[in-house]
Point group: D2
């Protein structure tokens, strides 16, 4: 235990649990107009991004989160050409989207342009040049405002947003009103996927409420999960669509679509794993019954 | 964050990551002949057991670990009557075994009788009276020695042991020699399941080596996983058998067997989840290629 | 460093410094009507009392604090017979007062009767029976209210109060109005001593303001200091009087008075140390110039 | 307590006490041939130096340590012209020595040239140009070897060395053999001062043993102390001489000597404080009786 001291990054993971990660090398610390940004190289997770002192993604396994967010839904869609990303600062969500050769256009709207610029400079392993791809457009704006103003139609909308903290900017991006706006911008086969935070037995009411809210608007709503090591938690996602049900896709179909679209080199997601990701444990199915409808008047406020 | 101070339990999860859990109520701290035992009630996990200052199980989700350890293998076995548990101090593994009405006898051999007695007193939510069940025999002895000496034959052997730390007593319970002894005690349909620690991208060489070692001896070896929140990690298990392959069981078969055997009230494991538990992510399948054969001469020593 | 984990008590010593003390044995944790009380046995300090998760006193060196609070002022007074203590829950201040055989009566007024009762039971090493001494009267009331209502006159008044935190009850016990009330209750040779928290270069404005406030009312005001190991800080006290100046007492006089009064067995305070305690470092003398007058309208609020 | 998370420096202050300091800005982290060096800007102490993850000195109060190490002894010496420093990497000891206009030559021998170079670059507030003073010679060598080889004679020798840790290089610089070598190099009025770590009630056996060892060789040995806030402890020093007793110097003499030598701008040490620094508390006088003689065969090994 010779490394129990020295430079550490301390995260208050919940009001009663604190984590301390040994820091190998501090890289960047500063504040944008919207949030505090720390980029540090940790012994255990490699290069890691913290926003407002909460872990966002880590080199060791950012692929688990980003592959899980993107591929189950893109594979389920028969031909995703236009993709919209709300949030997505690091550029890794774009990176995964662009693996599908069906994609012609990917629009990413992240309110924090300074953070996106920091990612361009400090996180090349994340974006891997995605920001320079000619199919990509990056816009620094409020994603809700942008989506409500545009007349463009998308095949897939990806909500890659931080949790709606008390003073944070994302509370109104997890409400029925926002999701109604998304539905309005989706093509007939269109699909929405939302990163919906922890799927553990204690804190899963957030995902339950997102699912419950989407069920008000979309005929098909499915929850799936993955285990992101650096988040120290099982992680949930909600997918919603007008008619496509991603949970019904079998291994062979996933394999064929990945091959046809030239998707290679995945490290977490696989044809074998796709159907398994939609099979949930009993406790989570039970918690999912207890969500409430989130509205602009009464949005979800994530416990700090 | 008003609860950032006060009484905490600090766990050095790996040499470069430390966790601090807010303590609501300390219950017991002491040393047995074999290990340090702390039982505390944590804000985040409820009543929790630490052995040698490493988390063992927590009220909030001990069922995830214990249901995953027991049911996939007991369900896969056509008619488990005699079950052997190596370790299993808290009694929750017995509790899950006894749910199957096929079981006629369950022998638990745990070297640390003082710890088992502490569990009887302090962890009634874990054992729920299992130690008093007439089908159960509890023996305080070295499980390897006991198994090598007995002439009894078992349908299922469950290795519910702590990781083989430097000075710990369990190093020789994860070797080819030990597993050969287990094989010798198994009935023709007999199966072995081993709790094999973390399945995350960084620390999975332990499970890889257990699987590799078992492949030397058993025709069928399968790895499966679960997400144990209080371990902060995806968790792996290895199952080995002479001929039964648990990964081939489909949802309907699981459902039938649970019903026939009167197994009810599960909170994690389910017919739907069974096949999904055997579908592994790409990174883990890759790591599993890299195990080495563990022997008495060269056992696995878990990093402290 | 084998003891870096396990049960710890975590104290946020200031907004940017956190201490974690290894706990050998938890003794009591609970809430009175006024404050949270934790009594734990620490590896480093032995039995230790925390109020609202701030360290109060520790077996290893409570004598440093209590001897420093009591003896410089009692020795300086020519014949202390009646002593008043505001606060003083643990009973160790009484213990030190009673060493002087001149003392005929000691009145202690502590608002938190439940805490005093906890100290009676759990801290016998502190009070050593002082509560049972026939010269002692213990009253559970607001010390300000009691002092303003009484007509009794005291030779020495000792302010042994916790720092005036935001929501705490002691803000109005560090103001000009309160000290004017104290002055009114003092005999002609009467003296007041106030524990006035840290004397370090960063946080010494509290003692500076107490001294400045007392200078409005008392002809003689002196600051002295001690080093209380378990507080991790040099500690300050302010003494005020109508005419007696404790800083002028020389070693021989202190020695004579201690002997005459039968004071024995001291472990910190000594005739040799008395004059030295009033000699302050340059930085502290400078900070002492910068205090402000504390009033009921504008009291000191200690940073949490 | 909004700052309870983020980048921290964690120090294991003793086996059962851990400190965590909020980091405002990391400045340098690396290893020299001899030790790990971290220079960070802390919220609470400003710029701070850690060697092997133990705090060395901090901007907020390095003057307390350095003024206490240098001035009591230099003032006590009637005319210090040649001064030798063993250790002293940061250059602040030199800075204080050079304030005395009697000093003609100051030789500093620090084994870690890389660390001294880091201090030149990163700690200008400490050395304030002292390394460039024409009276100064800096040598990178083992101080014991250098002193045993030289024929130069010194008026004052200052031992400004880190504690003798298990694997550290300084064990043989706290022994009778080394001090005999020092005595051999001292002029008739010559004096030695040794920084001798904590003076608290728990860890003071180190200073006791240094004092005991020096008493074997020097007619006059005195212990004095100061309160160094960033060390969180009262701090001890031992002074030894052939005939000069620094404890006998009175305020007026100190004042005169400081003025005659042009020493100005001190922030801790003062004429008033000089005699008080030699007045020790009862517990420390008691501990000082219990030291043992340190030898090359049986040196002091500081608990890590």
């Amino acid at each position: 235990m010779e490394t129990a001291t020295g430079l550490y990054y301390v995260e208050q993971h919940s009001p009663s649990m604190r984590f301390a990660y040994r820091v190998r090398r501090p890289i960047f610390s500063g504040k944008t107009r919207f949030q505090k940004v720390d980029i540090v190289e940790l012994d255990v997770f490699g290069k890691t991004v913290f926003l407002d002192e909460k872990i966002q993604s880590a080199a060791v396994d950012e692929y688990i989160y980003h592959e899980s967010l993107v591929h189950p839904v893109l594979v389920a869609h028969p031909a995703p050409r236009r993709v919209f990303v709300a949030g997505g600062g690091e550029g890794a969500t774009l990176r995964e989207i662009l693996r599908h050769n069906t994609v012609e256009r990917a629009v990413m709207v992240d309110i924090d342009g300074e953070f996106v610029d920091l990612c361009r400079v400090h996180l090349p392993e994340w974006h891997q040049g995605a920001f320079e791809d000619p199919r990509v457009e990056v816009i620094h704006d409020d994603a809700r405002k942008y989506l409500f103003d545009t007349e463009e139609v998308y095949d897939v909308v990806i909500s890659d947003l931080t949790e709606p903290l008390e003073e944070g900017p994302s509370q109104l991006l997890f409400t029925r009103e926002f999701y109604a706006g998304v539905l309005d911008r989706l093509s007939p086969d269109g699909m929405l996927v939302v990163q919906s935070a922890s799927a553990d037995p204690v804190y899963a009411d957030f995902v339950a409420s997102i699912a419950r809210t989407l069920e008000e608007l979309f005929p098909v709503v499915r929850v799936f999960w993955a285990f992101v090591f650096s988040f120290q938690m099982p992680w949930s996602f909600v997918v919603a669509s007008r008619r496509v049900d991603p949970a019904l896709l079998v291994e062979k179909e996933v394999e064929d679509r990945l091959r046809e679209r030239g998707v290679e080199g995945l490290r977490y997601y696989s044809p074998e794993l796709h159907p398994a990701m939609f099979r949930l444990p009993a406790y989570l199915r039970e918690v999912l019954q207890k969500g409430r409808v989130l509205t602009d008047q009464d949005p979800y406020v994530y416990p700090d």
